[in-house]
Each structure stands twice: as structure tokens, then as C-alpha cells.
Amino acid sequence: MTEKLLGYKGKALHFLKEVEAEVGDTIRVSKGKGTYEGVLIPRSEFSDGNHVVIKLKNGYNIGILVTQETKIERVGAGQKPTFSTSPLPKQQEELPEVTILSTGGTIASRVDYRTGGVRPALNANDLYSIVPELSEIATIKAEILYTVFSENITPKHWIKLAKEIAKNIKEGVAGIVVAHGTDTIGYTAAALSFALQNIPVPIVLVGSQRSADRPSSDAATNLIGAVTVASKAPFAEVVVAMHRTTSDKAIALHRGTKVRKCHTSRRDAFKSINTLPLAILEDGELRMLTQDYQRRNPKREVIVKPSFNEKVALVKFHPGLNRGVIDWYLDQGYEGIVLEGTGLGHVSSQCFATLRRAIAENCLVAMTSQCIWGRVNMNVYDTGRDLIKIGVIPLGDMLSETALVKIMWVLAQTKSVDEAKKLLAKNVTHEVSDRTVYQDYER
């Protein structure tokens, strides 16, 4: 398959090659029943090889079945389907400097004919040309770090990202914005919260739930919010900036360790779990919802600890879970296991033997709850008490995803299990709290 005939295969490809037609050319397709003329359009690679897609003069695309009686003529060379970006707006030097690091994902994406879906844009400047308003908020330094779907991001990407952010912070920028796919933005936010401590300026992760190619996308509103926060927020923490409600009105700033994607598609999919968001940005005004936060202070020295141990697993308990699953992890040499237990923090007694084995083999085993909201408490029922006795560590109201990331980080900071346990018990970056008030669940 060539770029010139993007997505075509089989019979259709053969026919098009024969007349040396390329995507963007005007072609005429004749069949027994009619003649169709239009611009040859790329075909999604998941579609079959029997149809040719053309864009008619009225703008509509249609697919034409290629059969033995089909005749294709190349009528003329046409405009190739390219993206022209508008020129970058002029930067105002006196504004604070913000670095936008792009990792891929929906906030910077356009229509893609390869998959028939949306795909990340080709360069970070796209962000800037799509949202010229940014030039009135900050001077932007845009950089593409990598272009991966967020489900393909691994701890190695976190490490590279953390180092790049640290470098930019040391160069004295007013704040960092990380454009990230929403599926795993919460994990990355937690990872950065542990890897970058004592930060002097905000680190704002941002994504979008509707692709940037459509007029209704939340990408621009979120990005404007993120850059505003990065450039002038009074706090210096890792946060995720996304729509607070379905309206294009307010942006919620969620702490990186307390945020979770709670809906597959809504704009307001992200919620702070067991706490309120750190702040709300509405009509250009930032409102802090707590006074317990680290203040912005450009003189503060960032502490960089960008390492993660990938031999940590997150295991969701369910009725009938075969404990052999946990055994497999141990056989593979896993050093940490986060259990996502039921209710207050339980797994079936069937698993006890394997958990004893884990602890005997110096594997760190910790408990979170699949209820999502609330904290584990393993003193209430026998099962909980048994698990504590076995050596499973309860993690309070920590999100299971955050717990996974934290243990990955902890086990990369020390080789000693005792040290690791101490670090795990410590509240490093607001990942755990000791009290939950009523409204934290309401929101």
C-alpha cells in the first residue's frame, strides 16, 4: 500500500493502479447503471478492497463497488488531502512562559483515513494554531515528546516525560502543560506527582473527550484552561484540567493522585475521588477549593525521582478469582501487588495461601477497594483481620490506580522491603487523606 492510494487494497487498488490514479485526483467511474465523477478519497484500512470512495462535487462521499464491468478513468490531478494550518499568532514577550509538551491523544488530533478514526496531530504547533487565544495568555513553547495513544503509554514514557518537565522547570518556565490522551491521563498524573516533588510551578495535564477536529470539541476550552492555570495559578502541584460539567463553562483542576476517569465519553468524565477538586477555573477566575496546597514559588528546587519498577500488578478481585493468577505474578518475579478488593477491602479466603506466599517472598501486597469511593477498613470483618494478619497493607482512601503507580515508584526508590513499607505508609503527595467529608462523595 502506498501513500498515494492510502487504504486501498485488493481489486480496488488494482483498478486504481492501472489508471495511475492517486488520492486527490479526479476520477470517473463507469458501471452499467451510471457514471460517477469525483475526487478519489483515501479508504479506511479496516474497510474492504472492493470499493472505491469518491467525493462528489457536492461534497458527499460515496463508495462504488468495483466489478468486472467497472471502468475507471483518471480525469485530472486534483488537490491532495492535506492539512493547511493557519499561521501561528504573534507571541507577546511580556506574558509568562508556558511549555506545552505533547504526548498524543485526542487534544491534538485530526481525522485519520488510515484507521477511519481520529489520530494525533503531526506537531505541537497545531495546538497553537487551532487555539490562537493561547497567545493572549502566555508565550508558548511547544514540543512533541512522543505521539502515542494513551493506552500505549508505559512507565518508560512517564520517566521521559518527568525528565523533560524537570528540564523545562529548571529553565524557569511559569508552568508546564502536558497534552495527554484521556484514557490513562490519571496514571500519568499520579506518576508525575511521585516523580517530581517539591515543584515550584504547576504541572497541568490536559486532554479532551471530543476530538479536536470537530466544532464542539472540548479540547480548546480545556487547553485554554490548562495554559491559564500553568501561567498564573497560585499552586505548584500536578493537576488534571478537564471540563467540570457537560457545559463549556468551568474547568476543574483535579489533584494528580486523586483523579479518575469515571465515564467513557462525557466531557466531565474526570472526578476527584474522595475529595473535592483542588480548584475550579470559571470565566477566567481561579477559585481554590482548599487552602491546603503547595504554593507557587519559582525559587523552590524541584526534586526529581523519575524511576518506576514495572514488576507491580493491579489485581481486581471478583467472585471465583483463581488464585493461580496471583501465583503467576509471583512466578514472574513481581515485587508488588495491589489488590482491588471488595467493599472495605476483602478477597476470598481461597487467596490467603497465595498471599502468604507473596509476603514470604518479599512481595509487597496492598489493599484498595473496587468501590472507588470511600476508604478500606480491614478491622471490621474477619476476612479483613485475617488479611492484615497475613501482612496485606491497607491503603486508606487511595485510588487503586494511584496505589499501583505509588508502589511502582516506591519499589524503584529502595531495595529494602522495610524501607518500601515505610515509604508506602507516608503521604507523599496527597495520595491519601485521613478524613473524608460528606460532600466529597456528592461531587
Partner: protein
């Protein structure tokens, strides 16, 4: 304005129709919501902004971009039965509704259009807020086609399947209000080639296509369920798109008006040229003339100044008198400028010297305005009272329209008003407004599926017409009436399965029901099943024709009631022969002397007395037969 009869052939009128018909599918086009509208207050609302995007060819619609720059926001109203996350653009669309696709393909085949092999859903950028996504999902289902209309064939360009837009509920300054219940209701679009030559023909084509649509029984009925867009041009004029003609009866009037409007604009152009007006003399020199109106009595201007707005004016050299020139009834060149100013400047309207002094603006104010603007006698001055940015946008739109008046009839999209006139809506969008809807894979239409559809196509209206007149011995007028009504299917069922007279059934289902509706009876509350039962009972001789109206009134107030219940409740049961004879005998006895005295007139008198007493419980014809017999025995 002179009213002259236009020779449409001579002016080169060309009309293309785009007919949009809502389908009656149970569910929406890309989700499983009901295809209904809600009344009353919305359950909740949400606010959005729409940002223009690049299409695959990298172009942006200028009007769309302008709206965005203005910071326009949209408030959407929702209710749970009629919309879900899909309409809110909070969830990707589901697969294309197969029921709607079947309807669109059926209609295609009835119009002899050729279905495409693979349907590609497109996103047509529409950034006026009427679509939460910022685009309308639309597709071409078939191409080509010929509709036979009154012996002439009209070529069809394409049949499309698309989602309806949200309903506009209002607008205040920068916030547009839409209700999304209508969004995503399936619509078929039938676009004819621009081959229609007269207003009358356009109307006939629309009627004929409408009949074909209804013949499928897959379309909605009632106001707002069918909307026509008209593409109209005349020689030397321009292609103007008129949107939203809701009544078929208005089509010819709208076209007549548009042809007249373009002719008037061409005449004005020639006169302006004769007056030696030059395009480059019409400049964008906007002057702050607020001081002229410091003590004005004009309420609009006074209120604006009080709000901190300014009055800005522009001089239109040698335009005096042209702004009040009528283009079509009620529409002047000044109106066209005002509409442009409203669109681009979001202002309430404009003032111009052709209509002043008026609106409590004094002669003195006009004179000092002219003085400041350095306006000569044959110059016109236009002004607006608005915030600076809007005022300038409004006046820029005015001067642009003035320059266009010199050059040509502008291509634009207009909206149809209920009186058949049209008003400026927006510039004609460019062609590059479409890109693929990547969330829905292309849909292949198999030859097998089409073969099956072809086998079971509904009868074409013309054929049906012939059959109705032949099988039910109807005249064309009656046949046409039932064919155009929503009851054609019900009618055939009833008539084929009962003894009711076809003529009576038609008159009842069309005229009687219409008359009752006019009198305020909620006839739509009577179900088809009740109507059917009622007519069957008439056929069986159990209900008198004269009683049917009363029964409908009763049924409209008693949901789900039986027709038999209504007969009992109203005491309208048919009388048996014995009962009748007793009543007639008694009546004759009571009036014996009177009847004897009146001789030949006795029959009429007796019938009068009896009918008063028995209306609805006996057929008049039957009664008269018995009465005649009885009277003849008396003699």
C-alpha cells in the same frame, strides 16, 4: 412598486427543490431516543461554544468562523425521553437506524434513483448552534432518478438520509437557545435538478414528491415534518438558497417573490450606475455621531446611549432614495441592509435617512447628522446605536451590501417567512463543509437487500389513484382527497372489510373530521382503531350516518373507549323495525287531525317531527320508506 406579470421563461428562472421529510421511524437516526418533541419546561440545560474546524481540504467556512469570533454561545434544552448523551454530543453515535435506511431506500426506488453501493455518513459543518456537534450527519443514499409528475419527468439529483437539527427557541445577545428533542430525527432529503422553470411547476413537483413520500407510510405528517429548501436563480441574477418553507402551498409564492426581488435588484443596479455611483466611493469611514442624539426623543437610540453604547454613522454616496426602494412587498433595499447588519453586527437594526425623520428622530437631528457626515442631498446616511465593535461590524455589512447593489445580486442563503417573503439569513456556505463521520463505518447495500425491497415497493400515487377510482367507483376529486390524507391505508382496510360506502367513508375521514377539528374538537385523540370500528358499524347498519359526528365528539373525550360504549352513552342505538313502527304509529295517531288536513304535505310534516325525535338512531332513507308505506295505507 409596480406589480407586473413576470414571463419566467424570458427571465430564465431556474428552480431546484430540496425536500426534507421527517421519517416516522420509532427511533432516531443514530440513537434509540423517541422521535418526538417535548412540551413544557426542559429538564435541564447546558451551555456550549462551537469552534470552526478545518475540513480535509483545509478550508474554513467564513460565516462559521465569524460567528465563533463573536463569542456566540449556545444554550441547549433537554428532556430525558427525547434525547440522550448522543444528542448532547456526550457519546459517539450508534449505528445507522436500519428502519430509517429502509425508508430512504424505498423512497429512492420509488423515485427511480440508483442506490449507491456504499453509504458514507458525512459531517456537514453547521455552526449556528442547531447541531450540538457543530455538524449535521448526512449521507447520500442514491443518485439520479426521475419522478413522473403530471406527464412530465423531473430529474432527481439525489436522495439523502440525514439527521434533523435542534429547534431554535430564541436568542438573546450572545446566547442562542436550542431544544435538542428534534435533533437526530431521521430526515430524507430529495434534491431535484435545477430544471424547474415556473413557480407553479415547482409547487406541483413538491406536491407530487410529497405524495410519493406519503405513499410509503414511513414518513411523519403534520406541520414542521416536511420542509422545503429552494434554490432559485434568474438570468444575470444569482443562485439564492431559500430555507425552511414549511407549507407546500407557499412554494410558488416564495419563488415569485424571489424572482421579483432579483429583478428589482437588477433594476436598482442599473439605476445606481446611471446615477454614476462608484464602488470605490463607498468607504468604511464610520463616524461617532452620538452627540447628535444627546437629547433625542427616539426611545431606541436613547436607551442605547444610556447603556453606554455609541451611535456610529456611515455615508452612502448618491444612495438617497434607493434604500426605500421596494424589492418585493414589505422588503426594501434598506431592509436587506438591516438584515445584514443584524447578522454580522448582532444589532437590533439600522436607521437610514430615506426613512427619516421618523421614530421620534427629528428633522433637526437628521440635518445635524447630515452636516457631520458631510452628506450631500443625494447621499444617504445609515447609522446604528450599538457597542463599538458590533456597530462597526454592522456598518461594514451595510457598506458591503451597498457595493454589492452596484455589482450584482448577491449569492446568499435566505429564510422563508410564513407570508411567502424571504429575509437574509447568512452568506452561502462554501462547498468545503463536509468531511467523513469516522465514528460510523461505511454501510454497504447488498443487491439482495435491494431486490427484496423492489419486490415489496408501495404503490405509486398515480397508480393508486387509478385503482381507487376504478375499484371504489370514486370520482378523481374524492380519490385525491383520501390519497392526500393520512387515512388512505385505514380507508382501504375499512372499505375492503365492511359494507360502508366508500364515498361516505372518505367524506367522513376528510371533511367531517376537518370540520370537527375546526370547531375545536380534539379529533386527533380518536384512534385509528376507533375510527375503523365506527365506520364498520355504519356499514353494518348499527349506527346511522347522522350519528357519526356526535360519536367522534364523545370519543375524543373518552380515551380508549369502545364505539359501542359511545352508542349506549349517547342513546344512539339503531332502532329495530318493530320499535320504529310503534313510534311511527304513535306519532301518526297523535297528529292524526293535522296530517289529514294537510293531505299531500303530510309526508314532509311527519318526517320533520320524526327526524327531530330520532336523529342518529335511524337512517333518514329507511325512515322515509317506512313513513311512505304507512301513509299510503292511511289513504
Amino acid at each position: 412598486m409596480q406589480v407586473v406579470v413576470i414571463n419566467y421563461d424570458k427571465i430564465g428562472l431556474k428552480v431546484g427543490l430540496e425536500i426534507h421529510q421527517q421519517l416516522s421511524s420509532e427511533k432516531k437516526l443514530f440513537c434509540n431516543c423517541k422521535t418526538e418533541l417535548f412540551k413544557g419546561e426542559p429538564e435541564t440545560t447546558f451551555l456550549r461554544r462551537l469552534r470552526p474546524t478545518q475540513s480535509e481540504l483545509g478550508q474554513i467556512d467564513p460565516a462559521a468562523f465569524f460567528e465563533f469570533q463573536k463569542g456566540t454561545q449556545v444554550l441547549y434544552e433537554i428532556e430525558r425521553e427525547t434525547s440522550c448523551l448522543v444528542e448532547m454530543d456526550e457519546e459517539p453515535p450508534h449505528n445507522l437506524n436500519p428502519e430509517a435506511l429502509k425508508a430512504a431506500l424505498t423512497i429512492s426506488l420509488m423515485l427511480n434513483a440508483e442506490p449507491v453501493d456504499e453509504i458514507h455518513i458525512m459531517r456537514k459543518i453547521v455552526i449556528d448552534g442547531s447541531n450540538t456537534t457543530g455538524f449535521q450527519r448526512t449521507s447520500i443514499v442514491s443518485l439520479g432518478g426521475v419522478a413522473e409528475i403530471l406527464g412530465k419527468s423531473v430529474s432527481i439529483q439525489h436522495v439523502g438520509l440525514e439527521e434533523d437539527a435542534a429547534r431554535k427557541m430564541g436568542e438573546d445577545s450572545r446566547v442562542l437557545k436550542y431544544r435538542i428533542d428534534r435533533l437526530c430525527i431521521p430526515l430524507v432529503e430529495i434534491a431535484t435538478s435545477p430544471v424547474i422553470k415556473t413557480p407553479q411547476q415547482a409547487q406541483e413537483v413538491a406536491f407530487a414528491v410529497g405524495r410519493i413520500l406519503r405513499a410509503t407510510n414511513m414518513v411523519k405528517r403534520g406541520l414542521g415534518t416536511i420542509r422545503q429548501d429552494l434554490n432559485i436563480s434568474i438570468r444575470d441574477g444569482a443562485l439564492v438558497e431559500i430555507k425552511g418553507v414549511q407549507e407546500l402551498e407557499l412554494i410558488s409564492l416564495v419563488i415569485e417573490n424571489e424572482a421579483q426581488r432579483q429583478l428589482s435588484l437588477l433594476r436598482i443596479r442599473d439605476e445606481l450606475r446611471r446615477r454614476n455611483v462608484k464602488e470605490n466611493e463607498i468607504g468604511d469611514d464610520f463616524v461617532d455621531v452620538t452627540s447628535v442624539f444627546d437629547n433625542t426623543k427616539c426611545k431606541v437610540v436613547k436607551a442605547a446611549i444610556k447603556d453606554g453604547k455609541k451611535v456610529y454613522a456611515v455615508r452612502l454616496p448618491k444612495f438617497s432614495g434607493f434604500l426605500k426602494e421596494e424589492l418585493t412587498p414589505g422588503l426594501r433595499l434598506g431592509t436587506e441592509m438591516a438584515d445584514r447588519a443584524r447578522f454580522w453586527g448582532h444589532c437590533g437594526g439600522i436607521f437610514h435617512t430615506d426613512e427619516l425623520p421618523a421614530y421620534s428622530i427629528t428633522k433637526e437631528e437628521v440635518e445635524s447628522l447630515r452636516l457631520i457626515m458631510d452628506a450631500k442631498e443625494d447621499d444617504a446616511v445609515v447609522f446604528v446605536a450599538e457597542e463599538t465593535e458590533n456597530a462597526w461590524d454592522a456598518l461594514k455589512a451595510v457598506t458591503l451590501r451597498a457595493r454589492e447593489a452596484l455589482a450584482k445580486v448577491p449569492e446568499e442563503t435566505r429564510t422563508a417567512k410564513p407570508d411567502g417573503t424571504t429575509r437574509y439569513m447568512r452568506p452561502r456556505p462554501g462547498a468545503a463543509r463536509m468531511y467523513p463521520e469516522t465514528d460510523i463505518p461505511p454501510i454497504q447495500i447488498s443487491a439482495e437487500y435491494l431486490r427484496n425491497l423492489r419486490k415489496n415497493l408501495p404503490e405509486l400515487p398515480e397508480k393508486k389513484m387509478q385503482r381507487l377510482t376504478r375499484d371504489y367507483k370514486l370520482n378523481r376529486k374524492l380519490a385525491r382527497e383520501i390519497l392526500d390524507s393520512e387515512f388512505i391505508k385505514l380507508f382501504e382496510e375499512i372499505v375492503n372489510q365492511s359494507k360502508v360506502s366508500p364515498t361516505f367513508a372518505i367524506v367522513f375521514l376528510t371533511e367531517t373530521l376537518k370540520a370537527l377539528k375546526r370547531d375545536g374538537i380534539e379529533v386527533e385523540k380518536v384512534s385509528n382503531q376507533q375510527l375503523s370500528e365506527l365506520l364498520r358499524q355504519v356499514g353494518a347498519g348499527r349506527i346511522a350516518k347522522e350519528a357519526t359526528s356526535d360519536i367522534i365528539v364523545w370519543l375524543s373525550k373518552h380515551k380508549e373507549a369502545d364505539v359501542t360504549e359511545s352508542i349506549d352513552a349517547l342513546g344512539l342505538g339503531m332502532l329495530s323495525l318493530t320499535e320504529l313502527q310503534v313510534i311511527i304509529d304513535n306519532t301518526i295517531r297523535e297528529n292524526h287531525s293535522l296530517l289529514a288536513a294537510r293531505g299531500d304535505k303530510a309526508f314532509g310534516i311527519l318526517m320533520g317531527i320524526l327526524m327531530k325525535q330520532l336523529r342518529g338512531r335511524v337512517e333518514a332513507k329507511r325512515l322515509s320508506e317506512i313513513v311512505k308505506k304507512k301513509l299510503s295505507k292511511l289513504k
